[in-house]
């Protein structure tokens, strides 16, 4: 009797689970699930004023230890050299669909008027940490480079590799020109630590942590994401099917 009941329970849940896993692997059903990403983005944009600010906290709210995630130390010889030089020769390249391609020394970036914001970093895994970020508003760099009207996305190319593939991320122009979107070179009142993306990382405060590319060397303005790396707009999007729009 017990064995039969066990058999039925195991069989029943096996059937249900097998069904869910099969659906999960079916391209058509995955496509249906994926369409929710567009719906989520459209509805979140609908309720958000373009410049709605993420909450800014006070210094008293800072996480005692800010957890770092992803790459903690890009292991390339190139990065090791930059680190040894204290990033004295690090430059930010701005290219793609811009009128004036730029190559900005890090020292120049650090000398530009900066924005400092104490914000919450939300990881896709569920945890949150509060940090204080100082950096150049991205809009200032893009205005200086002169975006083409054909540019729809800004791509951030990082110096780190995960599993041999270069890390990159992308955002659209609404987030690129948001007042809290900055290229941060400082954290918690000091220069950005290596584990948190030294010498330069993105803060895009209305999206999840994996959008905040670290170790940024190059910014590229593009009309479409299809031709960049795997074509889905980011390392995790290409390699693990995470959402490109990470507002939730």
């Amino acid at each position: 009797m017990i064995s039969r009941r066990r058999f039925l329970v195991a069989g029943g849940s096996g059937l249900l689970l097998g069904g869910c896993d099969r659906l999960n692997n079916s391209p058509g059903f995955r496509g249906l699930l994926r369409s929710a990403e567009k719906l989520n983005m459209a509805s979140q944009r609908l309720i958000s004023p373009r410049d709605a600010l993420a909450r800014e906290y006070s210094d008293a709210d800072l996480s005692p230890i800010f957890r770092s995630n992803g790459t903690a130390m890009p292991g390339t010889p190139d990065y090791a050299r930059h680190l040894a030089e204290h990033f004295a020769n690090w430059r930010l390249t701005v290219d793609g669909l811009v009128a004036r391609p730029l190559s900005i020394p890090l020292a120049t970036l650090r000398g530009l008027p900066a924005r400092t914001q104490v914000t919450r970093h939300d990881c896709v895994e569920g945890w949150s940490a509060i940090g204080k970020w100082t950096g150049v508003p991205l809009s200032r760099i893009l205005d200086h480079a002169g975006l083409s009207t054909r540019a729809k996305y800004i791509v951030f190319h990082s110096a780190d590799f995960i599993g041999g593939k270069p890390y990159y991320e992308s955002i659209d122009l609404i987030d690129a020109f948001h007042p809290q979107t900055i290229l941060a070179w400082g954290m918690n009142g000091r220069l950005l630590p290596v584990a948190n993306g030294a010498p330069l990382r993105l803060r895009v405060e209305r999206q999840l942590g994996y959008k905040h590319a670290k170790y940024i060397q190059r910014i590229e303005a593009v009309a479409s994401l299809a031709d960049v790396a795997g074509g889905k707009g980011g390392y995790w999007e290409d390699n693990a099917d995470y959402e490109w729009y990470a507002g939730i």
Binding site: D21, E37, I47, R55, S63, P64, E125, G126, E243
Partner: protein, 255 residues
Amino acid sequence: MDEAAVIAEPAEALPPAGAPRRIAYRHRLPTRIWHWVNALVVFVMLMSGLMIFNAHPRLYWGAYGANFDHSWLHFTGRPMPGWATIPSTYNLAAARRWHLAFAWPLVVGLVLFLLTSFINRHAQRDLAPRANEVRPRHVWHDIVQHARLRFPRGEAALNYNILQKLSYVAVIFVLLPLMILTGLTMSPAVDAAWPWLLDLFQGRQSARSIHFLCAMALLAFIIVHLVMVVLAGPINEVRSMITGRFRIPPERAPR
């Protein structure tokens, strides 16, 4: 008895002599549709939610919370077993796709049900507890009757008893809205648009904890609900939720 809530079927309203047996129309169409949509949607939300929990199985109070911070609940590894999660092997990205897609029928279904139920007065007539029902003595009497597995029979079986009303009201008006609002509070974009959510739940990590606790309360409700359906006569109960028609259990013989 509330006449409007129960529309007797004329053809079957005449009880055959000696065997009082009546079929009543118990659940209206919106209730039945919403019930079965939720049976699927809540099941998917719970199981994909448990997989998302597997990604960081720690819970905190306050605005922030990560590995170095104090957690009030803390598992190691991936605590939720494969038979309880969607998908059955660890995959945060896929679980999020399921969770954030099925959230839509959950939200839309709840809003439509609430609107319909206030307009057709299902909420006021069948769900709202009456003053005499919430007297401690009445509630205690119902608890004792339930504990003895003596469920209402005859005409009384057509109305929700006070324990049913309280649990349905708790799920519909408290648990489900809390699930949705705390879920939205975990979204950094929604927090920017609606910062009052962060004040309401005292921070994103508090919202995440409340989200988890409400999910466990919902799971407890579902388990008790299924047990009660089995005890109260599963065929009659399930049929009434499919066709709307419910066979009224005959009165007990007087003792």
